[in-house]
């Protein structure tokens, strides 16, 4: 009964102050909502182990991550065989190589479509505990040399490309122009290892190789149930050392500069290695925001207790038991945090829906969304919410309860005032303000640096024209365009491939809506495959003391189509094909920095590698082109130097195309499709999008996370501004009588103002110095994920501290001024 009375009383108090109630509930909802959202996001994407119908987590075994190019690195099949044979702690193991495949119907000229394919070990379906819905899975015999080419199709291909054809199983289709038998159909949603849409058996020599090769494999594995992951990593590390010691020189490129090669990582983390620190930062920021929210709500409730101090004193005088008083102080927290918790579920659910939309958008063109990238609230998240609500009730209820229990009630009842502020309470108030400054500084500095880096990256000048340009990747079916290894065929096969590209270019350029066509391995704004290069006559003693440049393959007559210019010398031409002299084109930055006298043309350079390899020998510079920026601006590997090699001599089976068009983008895309059909309908164009979209692709996730940081930043500003004001105002209000005394003793307004402002400056100095140090430390952790530019540091480290300084000074000035403006007599009798 008495508890009911307390509950009614608490409800009445909250009802009486609707703004206070709404504000605190909102702060709690925001803090918990962000926590719940981030937990669900990180749990789904990163931390919750991938189990796939079994109870031991899946791990990935691959080479050490390439932080320079932000890419996962593969392992030699030979080393996987060693792991398979020697590591007893592995229970299940399989290798795979992801790529794309051009799928066509068996009828001639029916056209092809690109799908994500995986060449994989037959056990992949048993490993993942998923069976085909039709037909059979792969078998060990499918790997054997001479076995009939077979494929297991994903549900989507069957439904959309083969229109749910009933007799698809056992039928023959074209995969990369090779007749292949469909042996099974997998259920909807299955795309293990990551994004597979069809599964082909990997060649037997990749499973049981007898020698090292340039194979490009990854592995999935499960450890035996009693095996510790850390012990397995140690074992792998020991194997790694052995391999590093024995690997032949021509394969030493597999080992990184620190001697690292093989690594085992939880499967989900392996897929987001380059975003890992960003996600962790996000988690840190959100925890800080939750703390900020707790402090704010705690402080608001504390201010309430101060208002109710006399009431509390009367209750104490009437003999309220200590527990009951604490409970009463907690009741409001319980209500606020519980309602806030319910709202948090709505916020988080909405955020997760938005995130799913962002993921769809990110991978719309490439269809490379890992199958587990579908975020939602799960039971764990709800349990976390309940625990967070309980923790928040404890934190936000404890501060006012402590205050309520630590007051001098006798003095309050005797004097009719709240009595003077205790030293402990004064210290707690200062600590609250410093914590608010510190936390908001960290959150805002990180959010601002990330946001402005993301903004600057979006604004980066890549040195190319992107308006009215579409890009795509052109893939030739290897079956139709093989490169035979015998020397007498190699050149002819290469030229056959490039002939396709130039035919396509000619066909397109004859169309009225096409202004120009360029082929390049990666267009500016993407790519960034870099290596050192030596300049003849100026070769550095050690390979890595030479300059470093991006290397791209480019077609003849490509520059104008993307707004680049030949500044010196000439473009590649027919005379460079299979010429005695290898030719190369460099960009303006290389020419200016290394050939300042304008004599770049005619000089010779060559690529240099760690293992002493000087791939391709000397190449003569025939031209200098305008500068471009290869690689996303988010990548640390982006270099100002670029070298270009002629496509004709290389003959890729795939290449990126950029088309400068007039009229509509849709018409340009249609023109490209028409041209391909005209030249060879078995070739395929995919990843078709505007050049601007191409550039923004690598930044979509960073940009989306930046938006979460922006949201965090806005929330942090709101929490910091309101919190700092509330804490400062509450703390100053507690000193109203002291101000009255000082004024009575003759302190002028300015003396009082100075007293409080000086204290605010001290709090600022402490809070900001710790906050800035902490933020820099966190931001430094992220430099392996993205380029943090100098401008962003300036914004983060000057604008944000200034903003906080202004907030704190205003938050101190306004309430102090308000009290100073009171007549001293009123201040002295302030209740």
């Amino acid at each position: 009964m008495s508890i009911t009375l307390d509950i009614k009383y608490a409800a009445r108090l909250l009802y009486k102050k609707p703004i206070f109630t709404a504000l605190t509930v909102f702060i709690v909802a925001i803090g918990l909502g962000l926590t719940l959202y981030t937990y669900s996001l990180l749990s789904n994407l990163v931390f919750k182990p991938l189990l796939l119908n079994k109870d031991t987590p899946i791990i990935s075994i691959e080479a050490e991550f390439n932080h320079s190019h932000l890419s996962r690195r593969s392992v030699d099949a030979f080393d996987f065989l060693t792991i398979r044979n020697e590591m007893d702690s592995i229970d299940e193991f399989g290798v795979y190589e992801e790529g794309i495949a051009l799928v066509g119907k068996s009828q001639q000229n029916s056209g092809t479509r690109k799908y994500n394919s995986v060449r994989v070990e037959w056990n992949v379906f048993d490993f993942s505990g998923v069976k085909p819905i039709m037909g059979r899975a792969l078998k060990a015999e499918d790997h054997f040399d001479g076995a009939e080419p077979v494929v297991v199709l994903g549900y989507d291909i069957w439904q959309h490309y083969f229109l749910a054809q009933d007799d698809i199983v056992d039928s023959i289709i074209l995969v990369n122009a090779i007749a292949t038998r469909v042996v099974g159909i997998m259920p909807a949603g299955f795309s293990f290892p990551t994004v597979a849409q069809l599964w082909k058996p990997i060649e037997q020599n990749m499973l049981t190789p007898t020698e090292r090769s340039r194979s490009w494999l990854f592995a999935y594995a499960r450890l035996k149930k009693d095996q510790s992951f850390n012990i397995f990593k140690q074992e792998l590390s020991a194997l790694n050392k052995r391999i590093a010691n024995n690997i032949p020189d021509n394969m030493r490129w597999r080992i990184n500069e620190k001697g690292g090669y093989l690594r085992a990582v939880p499967y989900k983390i392996a897929n987001i290695t380059h975003y890992y620190s960003l996600f962790i930062t996000m988690a840190v920021v959100v925890v800080l925001i939750l703390l900020l929210a707790c402090i704010n709500v705690g402080n608001l409730l504390l201010a309430r207790v101060n208002e109710r101090f006399k009431e509390v004193a009367i209750r104490v005088a009437l003999g309220v038991p200590r527990k009951r008083l604490i409970l009463q102080m907690l009741l409001e927290s319980i209500f606020i945090c519980t309602v806030g918790g319910f709202l948090a579920v709505l916020f988080a659910g909405w955020g997760l829906e938005l995130s799913n939309t962002v993921f769809e958008q990110m991978y719309r063109v490439t269809e490379n969304k890992p199958f587990w990238w579908q975020v939602s609230l799960d039971t764990d998240a709800i349990i976390l919410l309940i625990l967070s609500v309980i923790a928040m009730i404890a934190i936000t209820g404890f501060i006012p309860a402590w205050r309520a229990l630590s007051g001098d009630f006798n003095a309050v009842l005797r004097d009719g005032t709240r009595g003077s502020q205790g030293k402990k309470f004064a210290r707690a108030s200062q600590l609250l303000v410093i914590s608010e400054i510190l936390l908001s500084c960290v959150v805002l500095v990180i959010a601002t640096i990330l946001l402005s880096s993301s903004y600057f990256a979006g604004q980066a000048d890549y040195g190319v024209e992107t308006n009215n340009r579409i890009t795509a990747t052109i893939e030739l079916p290897e079956g139709s365009y093989p490169i035979r290894q015998e020397e007498e065929f190699e050149l002819a096969d290469t030229l056959k491939r490039t002939a396709f590209y130039y035919d396509l270019k000619d066909t397109l350029e004859q169309m009225p809506n096409i202004e120009g066509v360029a082929f390049m391995s990666h267009f500016p704004g993407t790519g960034a495959g870099a290596s050192f290069f030596e300049i003849e006559g100026r070769v550095a003693a050690v390979y890595n003391e030479n300059p470093y440049s991006n290397n791209e393959v480019v077609s003849r007559d490509a520059w104008s189509a993307i707004g680049m210019r030949v500044i010196q010398g000439r473009d590649f031409n027919q005379s460079d094909i299979s010429a005695e002299i290898d030719t190369i084109i460099i960009n303006e930055s290389i020419a200016n920095d290394f050939f300042p006298d304008g004599d770049a043309v005619g000089q010779r350079v060559r690529r240099a590698f760690r293992n002493g390899d000087r791939e391709g020998g000397w190449q003569t510079i025939v031209g200098v082109v305008s500068d471009t920026y290869h690689g996303s601006a988010m990548r640390t590997s982006s270099e100002q130097y670029s070298s270009y090699f002629m496509l004709d001599n290389i003959g890729y089976s795939w290449i990126d195309i950029a088309i400068h068009y007039n009229g509509s983008q849709a018409l340009a895309e249609k023109s490209l499709q028409q041209a391909i059909n005209q030249v060879n309908s078995n070739a395929t164009a995919y990843h078709m999008q505007s050049y601007d979209e191409l550039i923004s692709q690598p930044m979509i996730l960073v940009s989306a996370i930046s938006k979460v940081f922006l949201l965090c930043g806005v929330i942090a500003i709101f929490l910091a501004a309101s919190g700092i004001y509330a804490v400062a105002a509450n703390s100053i209000s507690q000193r109203t009588q002291e101000i009255g005394v000082r004024r009575a003793l003759g302190a002028s307004d300015s003396i009082i103002m100075q007293l409080f402002m000086r204290k605010a400056v001290w709090q600022l100095l402490i809070g900001l110095s710790i906050g800035i140090t902490l933020s820099l430390w966190v931001v430094n952790r992220m430099t392996d994920t993205m380029v943090i530019n100098q401008g962003s540091y300036m914004v983060g480290l000057i604008v944000i501290p200034l903003l906080i300084i202004i907030m704190v000074l205003v938050a101190t000035y306004v309430p102090t001024r308000k009290i100073v403006l009171m007549e001293p007599s009123d201040a002295l009798h302030h209740d």
């Binding site: 003793l745 003759g746 007599s825 009123d826």
Partner: protein, 255 residues
Amino acid sequence: MKSNNNSNNTTDISNAEKATQVLVKLHDIKKIFYTDDVETHALNNINLTINKGEYLSITGPSGCGKSTLLSLLGLLDTSSSGSYTLAGHNVSDLNRDERAAIRNKEIGFIFQAFNLISDLTVAENVELPLTYRSDINTKQRAAMVNTALAKVDMLHRAHHFPSQLSGGQQQRVAVARAISAKPSIILADEPTGNLDSKNAQIVMALLDQLHQEGATICMVTHDPRSAARAERMIEVFDGKIVADQLTETPTAIAV
């Protein structure tokens, strides 16, 4: 006992021969409080003169306006109308900082609730009003603090915090703070209201001593025995001075 209850509240002690001694002169002072469109006349046409060296008490029932009167005298509040002259200067129209400067130099306060600042030591509390003056250097301040504390016999507790002192000791420190800057007038608001009789006696004895040394003291009190120690007693009722009389023989408080 000489009494003067004239209708216009003027006192017969503000005579010509004492004119040169006048320290405080209130003329037609009114104080009106406004709350929710309700006017409360806290003080009505107050006319009061206090001479240098005088020791007067203000008495009256709760809510009669005596504390408001003391606040006006201490420049802690401003009147709604009327004029106030302190030490020959019209202080009615001073701005906030000028009033603060006058409070600092001319007025010493002793409050019922002591109002010591809990985070400052005894010496620092006493020093506080002196720190607001630029004409006193650190050395002088230290000397003045020591003198004031010695006078109230609290020198030995100079480095203690208020919370380490008894109520009586805190009020003695408050007295020391009030006299440290050698003010023209000491305003005491129920100085013994929070004290037991023994400590009350000590504080009242201190005020007596200060008066004997020439201090002008104006004390608000409920306690007739305390009021009787003053040489002049003013009674306030409903915002008006209803009695202004000299006590014939100020008496010591019986312990």
